[in-house]
């Protein structure tokens, strides 16, 4: 719509007025419309909907019966499992070994304290004030594995000494995965930097390390760590088995992370380096303040995938005789008091516990990803 007025220059100018906004066309809304649109939009879609509903109707009732309605919860021996359903008594009785291994019962609070520290740190984006977050987070994360070791070991604090032979259960999977991820991430970044370096010596060393730890199956690495690695140590030194496993997992993680970061580096425009150079930032200032945060942001989905993979790989430790959750479950299954074939319950328990943890990791990572996304936030 326009109308003519006399402008500042004394000439006739048409004044522009934007046309009024129209409401969106009215469509049918509500449950009926939703059903029609999503489930019964065509004959094929309707057929699929009916088929899926029928399948769920046949599968779900027996599953729920087994899981809940016919399941046995009370009691403490195999004899208490009389119903047709799942024998959750088995899980109840074996819960402590499954979660904590053979760590002494009176010292379990030390494991729980370490777990609280771990989750508290991982969840810090949710509770730490923003101005503290970067510095405190990084310091806490890097110190965490060592703090946990001191608490769990106990000798430095004057508590009862608990040898690593007694550490186990799902807590061990968590600690080993967390400790290797925490130390593997910065180590991998150093390797990735080395791979981009102009110095031929540093570059070749990093390439060899990355390719070795990425190209070797993690099981082979575990065997190397537990069998071969001691050969390189001087006679008489006994390096703890868990420590060796931790080193192997950390290097494995670093190898994978280095490749993840490489993709992130490739996504950083040259202009970022030039702007940092022009400001006079040094190599390390540029790397840590300008490049690293952007690399992490770009690589976040792949970092998460790698971390979840490493976490799941900790179940392989069963094979070299470490009492993590899966080997504890197997141990319980072969116990002479529980020879009724409770493998479904045992493996389901391990699967659910793992799933809950991996899902939480995804959620935290998604939250961090959203926080890091500064591109189109208004």
């Amino acid at each position: 719509m326009t109308k003519t007025t006399t402008g500042a220059m004394g000439t006739q100018a048409r004044v522009f007025e934007p046309s009024p906004a129209q409401p969106a066309p009215v469509t049918s809304t509500g449950a009926y419309a939703w059903l029609r649109e999503n489930l019964f939009s065509g004959w094929l879609n309707s057929l699929v909907t009916i088929g899926v509903v029928a399948l769920l109707m046949t599968l779900l009732p027996p599953l729920f019966n087994w899981l809940f309605f016919d399941a046995n919860l009370s009691g403490s021996t195999q004899a208490d499992c009389t119903g047709d359903g799942a024998c959750w008594v088995f899980i109840k009785v074996w819960l402590q070994p499954l979660l904590y291994g053979s760590y002494p019962t009176e010292s379990l609070w030390r494991v729980n304290l370490s777990l609280v520290l771990l989750f508290g740190t991982l969840a810090s984006p949710f509770w730490l004030p923003k101005h503290l977050r970067n510095k405190v987070d990084i310091a806490m994360l890097l110190a965490l594995p060592f703090i946990a070791i001191i608490i769990l070991d106990g000798r430095l604090l004057g508590l009862d000494y608990v040898a690593t032979d007694y550490w186990g259960g799902f807590a061990l999977n968590l600690f080993l995965a967390a400790a290797s991820i925490i130390l593997g991430m910065p180590l991998g970044f150093l390797w990735a930097l080395g791979r981009r370096s102009q110095m031929p010596m540093a570059r070749s060393i990093c390439v060899i390390l990355i390719e070795f730890f990425r190209g070797t199956p993690v099981l082979a690495l575990f065997f190397m760590g537990s069998v071969m690695l001691p050969l390189f140590f001087p006679e008489g030194t006994n390096v703890d088995k868990l420590l060796r496993v931790w080193i192997v997992l950390t290097l494995f993680m670093a190898g994978y992370m280095a490749e993840v970061y490489r993709g992130g580096f490739a996504a950083i425009p040259q202009g970022q380096y030039e702007a940092a150079d022009a400001l006079g930032l040094s190599f390390w200032q540029t790397t840590l303040l300008v490049i690293l945060p952007q690399v992490i942001k770009v690589s976040m989905p792949n970092i998460l995938a790698t971390a979840v993979m490493l976490f799941k790989n900790t179940t392989f430790l069963m094979i070299i005789g470490i009492f993590e959750v899966l080997s504890t479950a197997q141990n319980a299954l072969t116990n002479s008091n529980w020879l009724g074939g409770f493998s479904t319950e045992a493996y389901l328990f391990v699967a659910v516990v793992y799933w809950v943890c991996c899902f939480s990791m995804s959620s935290v990572a998604a939250h961090i990803e959203r926080k890091l996304d500064t591109s189109h936030r208004s």
Binding site: P269, G271, E274, D277, A278, L279, G280, Q294, T374, R377
Partner: protein, 258 residues
């Protein structure tokens, strides 16, 4: 924009702040810069123009060592440009640069973009750096955006932030590498206004730009480069009204015809 020329702060007695003597650069076998010699006095405003691929960007990128040259000599504010980290750091301290694509750090707020240099390079306390930053943001008329991220600003605003970021390091010399080429036409003026203001305050400036109006208004000297050489340099009046070489005549006819 009027074409009334801003009077220069320079006079003949002042010393050269940049001296480039027979600078040569190759990319592999390709000879990008051929015997480029240039003297810039303190407070002088130089506009460099020329067709693309003529080496103009490469030349100014050599002045803060984003590019290396293989032959020749350069002094910036009395410091020789040699392959020594100390010299390079000292030179970069005196030289600010504004890029065609802004190159702001997308993960930092506008304010953090401005303070990262003062805090980490000049070791200034955070409060002081932020106060200085706000002063410069005020000057480029963008202080109300201080806590936003670069991705939320328009191109023109981002480029003004980039200018402010350079100014926070209190440079003696400002280099502009086609600062308006990546902008939408309606945003060119706001950036040029900031640059004109800077020129009025007596900043030594070297601008690679195609904005001929800016050159006429601000420049003390206009330099025309082609094929890696300085073909012609003159005062803006002479440069535009009385081009000496056929190459410049052709270039001006192509640039100014529309």
């Amino acid at each position: 924009m009027t074409t009334e020329h801003i009077t220069s702060a320079t006079d003949a007695s002042q010393e050269d702040i940049i001296t480039i003597d027979k600078m040569n650069k190759w990319y592999g076998d390709f000879h990008v810069l051929k015997d480029v010699s240039l003297k810039v006095k303190k407070g002088e405003r130089i506009v460099v123009c020329g067709p693309s691929g003529s080496g103009k960007s490469t030349m100014i990128r050599c002045i803060n060592r984003l590019e290396e040259f293989q032959k020749g000599q350069m002094f910036v504010n009395g410091i020789e440009m040699i392959d020594d980290v100390k010299n390079i750091e000292a030179i970069r301290k005196d030289v600010g640069m504004v890029f065609q694509h802004f190159n702001l750090f997308p993960h930092l707020t506008i304010l953090e973009n401005l303070t990262i240099g003062p805090i980490w390079v000049q070791k200034k306390p955070k409060e002081e750096a932020e106060a200085t930053a706000m002063k410069y943001l005020e000057r480029v008329k963008i202080a109300n955006q201080a806590l936003k991220y670069p991705g939320q600003l328009s191109g023109g605003q981002q480029q003004r932030v980039a200018v402010a970021r350079s100014l926070c390091m209190s440079p003696e010399i400002m280099l502009f590498d086609e600062p308006t080429s990546a902008l939408d036409p309606e945003m060119v003026k706001e950036v040029l206004d900031v640059m004109v203001e800077l020129a009025e305050e007596g900043m030594t400036m070297i601008c690679v730009t195609h904005e001929m109006g800016f050159a006429k208004k601000v420049a003390d000297r206009v330099i025309f480069m082609d094929g890696g050489e300085i073909v012609e340099e003159n005062t803006p009046d002479e440069f535009f009204d009385n081009p000496q070489t056929d190459r410049l005549q052709l270039f001006l006819s192509q640039v100014l015809q529309h």
